[in-house]
């Protein structure tokens, strides 16, 4: 690369300062809602009603968090969000695990065990990424009813696995397309079959793309509201639906501080997943995109 002409020292510093100012402004703008939520979730209700949304709490209290977690009125039961948090976990963990595992297997077969028509199959699976949620609601409800999984956590797991398969297959296929075929041949010569090649050679090298897929699936499934609202009953309702019920329950006063605390609680798991494994996310996406 040729050296570009540098502006003089003074102008350079000024430009840089302006750049940072703009960036900080945007960062503040984006973080403002989070700030409002956090600040108001530790205020008393009186303070929220009487004061400024943006001000720091005069009297710091964890009460709204405890209420949101274990005492708040959800629908007709005063259980708080905790049982629904458990519901969400019971739904997300198997759904993410199964859809990721199947996606990896699909990607492996579609790139390393090619068969006539594999491109058409992959094309059809890609198509699944473009189908809007709303279109599948009624057919899916019928299917769940027919196989006896309507209104259960297992039913929700099935829905999310089926819906996520297109994405997970796409991720793994692109990643494995860049994986050298010679390694597969070498494994064949060494006597490894279909499964052992997969588990011993491919999977151990799939760290980044597994992280990408898990984050993607976890975020989507955890945040999903429509499927949860459509296919779950009171016992299997996920966190998002419960949060909605908490906020829209019309018994007496609107407890904004509890609502804010509940909303943060609902968003916390995805936030943690991003913070812990976010750097792999970008790395994995790049790996698939550049070479695929």
């Amino acid at each position: 690369m040729s050296r570009s002409t540098q502006p003089s020292f003074g102008t350079g510093k000024l430009l840089r300062a302006a750049l940072y100012a703009v960036l900080i402004l945007f960062a503040v703008y984006y973080l403002l809602p989070l700030f409002v939520m956090l600040v108001n979730s530790v205020k008393t209700l009186d303070e929220i009603r009487g004061g400024n949304m943006m001000s720091f709490p005069e009297m710091f209290t964890f009460e709204p968090w405890l209420t949101a977690w274990s005492k708040a009125q959800i629908g007709v039961e005063p259980t708080g969000l905790s049982p629904y948090f458990i519901n969400s976990i019971m739904m997300v963990v198997p759904a993410v695990a199964i859809s990721t595992a199947l996606g990896a297997l699909n990607g492996y077969v579609l790139t390393k065990w090619r068969f006539p028509g594999d491109k058409i199959i992959f094309g059809l699976m890609l198509f699944a990424c473009f189908i809007p949620f709303q279109i599948v609601l009624i057919p899916m409800a019928r299917v769940l009813g027919m196989i006896g999984l309507a209104g259960t956590t297992s039913g929700l797991v099935l829905v999310h696995v089926v819906y996520g398969l297109g994405f997970t297959t796409l991720f793994f296929r692109n990643y494995y397309a860049a994986f050298p075929d010679e390694l597969i041949k070498a494994a064949k010569m060494d006597g490894a079959g279909f499964w052992r090649t997969f588990t011993r050679i491919l999977l151990p090298s799939s760290g980044p793309i597994i992280v990408v897929t898990v984050i993607w699936q976890f975020t989507n499934i955890w945040n999903d509201f429509l499927f949860g609202a459509s296919f779950a009953d009171f016992d299997s309702m996920p966190m998002t639906v419960a949060l909605n019920n908490l906020v829209s329950s019309s018994t007496g006063v609107k407890e904004y501080n509890v609502h804010f605390a509940g909303a943060v609680l609902a968003a916390l798991p995805t936030l943690i997943v991003y913070v812990v494994s976010g750097r792999y996310f970008v790395r994995g996406l790049m790996a698939g995109a550049v070479k695929g």
């Binding site: 064949k188 006597g191 151990p204 090298s205």
Partner: protein, 369 residues
């Protein structure tokens, strides 16, 4: 009885015929090199021997047993790949042991075997490293170790040197040859590099468009090419292929602005004599045309004639000087002694070693004998 027999093997991918009726055999302990330009089917042939590709018709036998229906792992064949294909997630020791592990060998036995092979290849200090931490030459050694440890009856090499830089390539070539001499295992080796083919092989098969052009020893391939393709492909600088006209027992090559060059032969091949007055292609290697003082390139008793030729370009190459003249409208490379003192754009006395001249049919490219 030969050890590896490739018998009338054909392979098609849909309508495309990649291998056509290939028949080759190698004796036990032999070193067969498959050489040809890219797309000639040499790697496909190697893959069919390995069992990674099914052949369409024909048969492959090892020690008399047909192996066509055996999966790759049961053929007792080891393969070294172009990229070395070392498993990136395993360390060197695990890479070498993987094939043994898949065959269910107990761990202590595996470790002993790995240690033995590592010692032979002098890679003991690398056993705990990952492939990503190795240099090109070390990777190649590990790949050979992975092949050696299984003690296979046949080794396959798929262009193993093409990823190395020029100097290392020469070193590793020697290493492969030494390994072959030490272990005596039969080897089939694919390359597009004709020098590798010449230096390594005990037998060379030159392929083009899925057809074996010539099969023989390196000396046969080099001195006695079966057709124009083999003559042109093998040897560097390439053989000079000069259009010429047959005149009785002599051949005549046109020269721009000069009298034609006439080479008088004592024994012109019968096919050539029969073409009196017609055109043929004269094939003569650069080292068979030299300066008058360079007697080293013409052995006693070989028929040589000298002629004055105009030198267009002089290219000193250290050990030799390559001088380029023009005959029959073609640039002709000659190999002169390093102390030759002639100049470009002047005439010099050149000696033609007529024993080394071969003739081809200009239309079909077939050798005239």
């Amino acid at each position: 009885m030969s050890f590896l027999q490739i018998d009338k093997v054909c392979k098609s991918f849909g309508p495309i015929k990649v291998l056509r009726d290939i028949t080759l055999d190698v004796e036990e302990g032999g070193f067969l090199v498959l050489v040809g330009p890219s797309g000639c089917g040499k790697s496909t042939l190697l893959n069919t021997i390995a069992g990674l590709e099914k052949l369409t018709t024909g048969e492959i036998r090892i020690a008399g047993n047909v192996i066509d229906d055996l999966p790759p792992s049961e053929r007792n064949i080891a393969m070294v790949f172009q990229s070395y294909a070392l498993y990136p997630n395993m360390n060197v020791g695990q890479n070498i042991a993987f094939g043994l592990e898949m065959r269910g060998m107990p761990k202590d036995e595996r470790d002993a075997k790995v240690a033995e092979v590592a010692k032979t290849l002098q890679i003991e200090h690398l056993l705990d490293r990952k492939p990503g931490q190795l240099s090109g030459g070390q990777r190649q050694r590990v790949a050979m170790g992975r092949a050696l440890v299984r003690n296979p009856q046949l080794f396959l090499f798929d262009e193993p040197l093409s990823n190395l830089d020029a100097k290392l390539r020469v070193d590793m070539r020697t290493e492969i040859k030494r390994m072959h001499q030490t272990f005596g295992t039969t080897i089939v080796y694919v390359t597009h590099d004709q020098i590798e083919a010449m230096t390594l092989g005990t037998r060379i098969a030159v392929l083009k468009d899925g057809i074996v052009q010539q099969y023989g020893t390196p000396a046969e391939i080099y001195n006695d090419p079966a057709n124009l393709f083999v003559a042109d492909f093998m040897g560097s600088p390439a053989m000079n292929l000069i259009p010429a006209t047959v005149r009785g027992s002599a051949v005549e090559m046109a020269r721009a602005g000069e009298e034609p060059l006439v080479l008088e032969f004592q024994h012109l091949p019968a096919d050539v004599r029969a073409r009196d007055g017609q055109e043929v292609i004269v094939g003569i290697r650069p080292e068979a045309i030299t300066d008058a003082d360079n007697r080293a390139l013409v052995r006693d008793g070989q028929q040589a004639v000298s002629a004055s030729c105009r030198i267009d370009v002089v290219e000193p190459a250290g050990a030799d000087i390559f001088a380029i003249t023009s005959l029959g409208g073609k640039e002709v490379v000659t190999r002169l002694h390093q102390d030759w003192s002639g100049q470009a754009n002047s005439h010099a006395e050149l000696v033609f070693n007529l024993e080394k001249v071969v003739f081809f049919d200009p239309e079909s490219g077939v050798r005239l004998r």
